[in-house]
Symmetry: C2
Subunit: 152 residues, 2 copies
């Protein structure tokens, strides 16, 4: 009886490990898909030039960390930042997620971006880390830091 129980325990352990393994793999793929889906909305909103709509994709207490200025804190400041960028000629952004890691309602994304003017000329290549927070089921940008790959 003892050995039967032991064998059953081992099989149960293997089954758990197997299922957990699949769950982990699914989870990793799943969060990347979720973040990529959120990025599609970011990219499409960016292309409309609507800084208010773009800022709505951030959390209420979000921060953006652009090169050359202090930390941009809160929605009003973030809206003003992106509005100024768009008025200065930013027309389009592309985002490529390199990795995405989920911890409950938090996700950490590492990615690369390209910035274009309204005529489609590439202005910059950049890399970024975004800390996402899931708020009421929606992934929102919470901490957004990036810098250029190009020599100044």
């Amino acid at each position: 009886m003892k050995s039967k129980l032991a064998i059953a325990a081992v099989f149960a352990g293997l089954a758990t490990a197997y299922v957990t393994g699949i769950r982990h793999a699914d989870g990793a793929e799943n969060i990347q898909r979720q973040i990529e889906a959120a990025n599609v909305i970011f990219v499409e909103t960016f292309a409309t030039g609507d800084a208010v709509a773009l800022t709505a994709l951030y959390t209420d207490d979000a921060q953006v960390f652009p090169t050359g200025i202090d930390i941009v804190s809160g929605k009003k400041a973030i809206e003003a930042y992106w509005k100024a960028g768009m008025q200065a000629g930013l027309g389009k952004i592309t985002l490529t997620t390199l990795e995405a890691e989920q911890h409950g309602d938090t996700a950490i994304e590492v990615g690369q971006a390209e910035l274009f003017d309204t005529k489609g000329t590439r202005l910059d290549r950049a890399k970024y880390i975004v800390v996402w927070k899931r708020v009421d089921g929606v992934w929102k940008l919470h901490r957004d830091i990036f810098n250029s790959n190009l020599p100044s």
Copy 2:
């Protein structure tokens, strides 16, 4: 009997909330202290000018994201990056943790840095996000992105 049980349940709930609240507060303070302690080692190691020792504070598959170049991946590249910076005159760094958030063996730090030359002249003010990983009980820098606050 029913109402006594109900009251007991409410008190148990309050006690749990109270203890959980303290635990959360302790946890938040604790991770900030842990990351600040790790940063003290980073700052002290940086000041010795030993790029090998500095790189040992990163995970094996760490990445650094400096402005003006592509992503710096892995210890060899990170060592070369910091060595070049030190040879170019970087002498000292200060780090101030603005927030630290723990998710198991992962921590996300937002902070501000100041860079000085070997004579103590400030070269730059910067902000950063570091994703830390706890490896064998030691917090190591895993993703390290920063940019200058100063206009170029």
